[in-house]
Symmetry: D3
Subunit: 131 residues, 6 copies
């Protein structure tokens, strides 16, 4: 089953091991020093058996609350580079954000469920993890 959630955040793509020219060449407009931002659409997929008592694979309300408490409250309306521990040294590319969200949620959800993250940075650019 799949649940779509949403958050807005500022970020900047930057590799501190490179000089300014290299960062500008590789990351282009996404390297803007003062940040830019996105409306991120997050799709959390849990795969498992249907519970015959409920007809659910997983309770949507519980999943939505888990995502809200562990992901949205942490990232929504934040600057990913400056306001979060996770991206203090990790580049907040869509791929890395998806991996971070996966790692957070993986510890909160029983191993009885496979977990997959899809993250839309824009409606034309998105990623999945794990592959």
């Amino acid at each position: 089953m799949f649940r779509r959630e949403h958050f807005n955040a500022a970020h900047r793509l930057h590799n501190p091991a490179w000089n300014e020219e290299e960062n500008a060449r590789i990351f282009g407009k996404c390297n803007n020093a003062n940040f830019h931002g996105h409306n991120y659409d997050l799709i959390v997929q849990l795969t498992g058996e249907v519970n015959p008592a409920t007809g659910y694979v997983f309770d949507l309300k519980i999943l939505s609350d888990l995502v809200k408490e562990n992901v949205l409250d942490k990232f929504d309306h934040k600057n990913l580079n400056l306001d979060t521990e996770e991206f203090r040294t990790l580049n907040p590319s869509a791929e890395n954000i998806a991996i971070v969200i996966y790692d957070i949620l993986r510890t909160k959800i029983s191993d009885a469920y496979d977990l997959k993250i899809r993250l839309y940075e824009t409606e034309r650019n998105y990623v999945e993890y794990p592959i």
Copy 2:
């Protein structure tokens, strides 16, 4: 290949083995005694070889007619709990609706094709079967 279809229906989530409090606790607003409803978006995926004479995996018109006759005519503008045989005793969760639709279409489509169902209950909640 994928074909998106659409139907509207009323339903209620309820487990007759539980008392009212338990049903309300587990199913929340979805347990409302007088039903609520959804615009369901159904995506039918058939996987197979491309027919060299047509360039099709499967004829879209034939698939659309199959879905109309066997799924939409049965569920569209209906109360899933009261108006259908399939959900007289089976809880009409998105997961169970997807399984029922899969089972119906599986008997109508040659085993030369893999079949997968995706069902959107809302644009934020959806399921796939088989997993």
Copy 3:
């Protein structure tokens, strides 16, 4: 400014002044005795001056809370015909639902703002009020 909200409900179109045949002829599948349902998308438009201190026409959080308390809590996951006072005798067509929502919100929002309702019953059928 515009705010999009969402609710799910069951309904039935029916005119008690007509016999069964007439109801079936006029309302077709929407007359199903056991109800069907929709995911309603509601867009509330407020028109007024921009407040120079905030840059807002109207605070989105306050508007969203107003809609939640006065509209969504009343209609979401409900049977419009059976569970609501508003549609006990009024046919819950998209047009009438939009008018009812307008009348509810008009009393909660200062006359300094023009108010307009757009209601999507499906992504292909929608209405606006006032015209």
Copy 4:
């Protein structure tokens, strides 16, 4: 005729005439000191006569280039508060961004055309100018 364009930007809502508590109370999460961001969808509407030689109200390519050069190149992948002259002292609410875009484009497009801006900050929050 209408043309939809797109840009991403970081921003922060803040009124320097207010103290921190007042800003936090009024702007909530949108006041985050390190900014957050959005995928903005911009719809530019030009109203005028159809040119009988072309069948166009206005050439789409020319309009798209005008918007790119005068709006997108200025705001896309930028921090509206820090990187732009327009929002150095003006709060970058959706309403104010729409007004600024209108004022920019109004000087570039003949008065023979009425101009209207619709700006989506998210798919649930949007504004129009002029009203």
Copy 5:
């Protein structure tokens, strides 16, 4: 009330009063001699009083049938330039297609209703008529 319909067609923008260079300069890729095509989304808006017996402004099924018989059967899966009388000499720009559809439907719908057409040529380019 609004009804969204859909058709696919090929077309070419071309003014026979101009030479090839002029056509290429003005219409660019849309002048391709062998045509290109679009998925057109058509929104028909009827404005009028709500009928108290039905709760409808206009019966959706009747409107949808009117559009199908008079517009979709004429333009769907057609080459607008070669297969239709309407665009034999009229350039099939989005603006002109909207006007032609308006003129067709205006004769089929009582003057008690205002009629407005919105036509999407792509999700980024669309027009309305009348203005």
Copy 6:
């Protein structure tokens, strides 16, 4: 990672080995002799390791340029049957277009990446390759 691109084209489904009646019976409206057309949405998926220096699986700008130069410049605003080498004898069904695009891009992208194509012919009809 996924990148969505867009092109418009005219096409006709036709098998020259069949007579007119057979073509009309199998391909229906899609066999229209003067072509019809679509807005095609193309999603290119590359699967591979995240580069730790960039946080990217693949640079979006490079991918977008590759698709533009090798796919969009070839098919956008074209008649697939008449204007392209690829579909001179191959029926331009959605399945075949997806395979052709896959074959083109596969030669341009390192084997370190898995490649998958999804092609929307309309929002209700789409295909994937490879399966």
